[in-house]
Symmetry: C2
Subunit: 166 residues, 2 copies
Amino acid sequence: MSDAVDALMAQWKQERPDIDVWPMGVIGRISRLSALLGRELKESFAEYGLEPFEFDVLATLRRSGAPYELTAGALLKAAMVTSGAITNRIDRMEAKGLVERVRDGADRRSVRIRLTRRGLELVDEVVGPHVANEERLLAALGPAERDQLAGLLRVLLESMGDTSLT
Amino acid sequence: MSDAVDALMAQWKQERPDIDVWPMGVIGRISRLSALLGRELKESFAEYGLEPFEFDVLATLRRSGAPYELTAGALLKAAMVTSGAITNRIDRMEAKGLVERVRDGADRRSVRIRLTRRGLELVDEVVGPHVANEERLLAALGPAERDQLAGLLRVLLESMGDTSLT
DNA sequence: ACTGATAATCTCAACATTGAGATAACAGCA
DNA sequence: TGCTGTTATCTCAATGTTGAGATTATCAGT
């Protein structure tokens, strides 16, 4: 079998035989998969009235454990977005009643973002179906293949300095 | 060793032991890698005054072979974006002199987008360094690992119906 | 030829992100 | 106490994408 990336690489081989485009076989597939998976997940979140970025924030807070709060800085690192984006996200989610801003007493520069009761209930309701949906999208892989794939991807992430989150 | 996704999964295990979040080990890594790789590639393209999306269009046209032209529809499928996005991209690139619109004689609904001489020269100049840069980003993997990774990713892409391009 | 359905592209408002800069607060040290 | 540098967040204009709808052209069947 072959996918769109195989076709793409065959074209390059034809047009520029002087260049070995093997890296596209990895990077091209990662980026196409990311786009396709993102689309699927978006539909799934929409059933709960959530945008993917909203789930991302809710999940980051939820998995950090009680009292379910993190600084804006911790959130933007976890989400890999800029400070402007996090401010915007929190604004919307606060308006929606999913999180609240709590000024820190010790360091008044920072803001702690805390899950509201409603945000907590929502994320706890959504995370199960979300993982089940992810499982469905990966059903083409057997158990050994999943582990192998996860391991290879981790090698790359580590080589690019991807560590910690909170 | 461990990466950010290992940390994330450990937190979930702590907070929601009832859910096995193994799919995040694959999907989370694909999406983080896509973001990190995208950043790196963007810097590289910037050295040639190109945005990533511009290279994407140039490369799609270049690898399609002489006369280096495709319809707007073919381009949007290859880039996995909506029609509005492609119209916008072509507008900008046409203004920059990288591509030109050619009305099709046979089907006057469609527009063929063609590389200009300048666009062709630019993409032929950039593609070599671009692939070399991608190679650098994948240096953490050995030859056998690359093939293995590409193969596993292909299984997923095929299962999601990713085929053809032009 | 006509009519309705389909197809290809463009238009445009809404939206989320970036990136640079502003603001406010903390930390170390003379 | 007063400086200087750093840190945390917010602000805002510019940018690119989406998604729905408009426009124009083709095709199939009658």
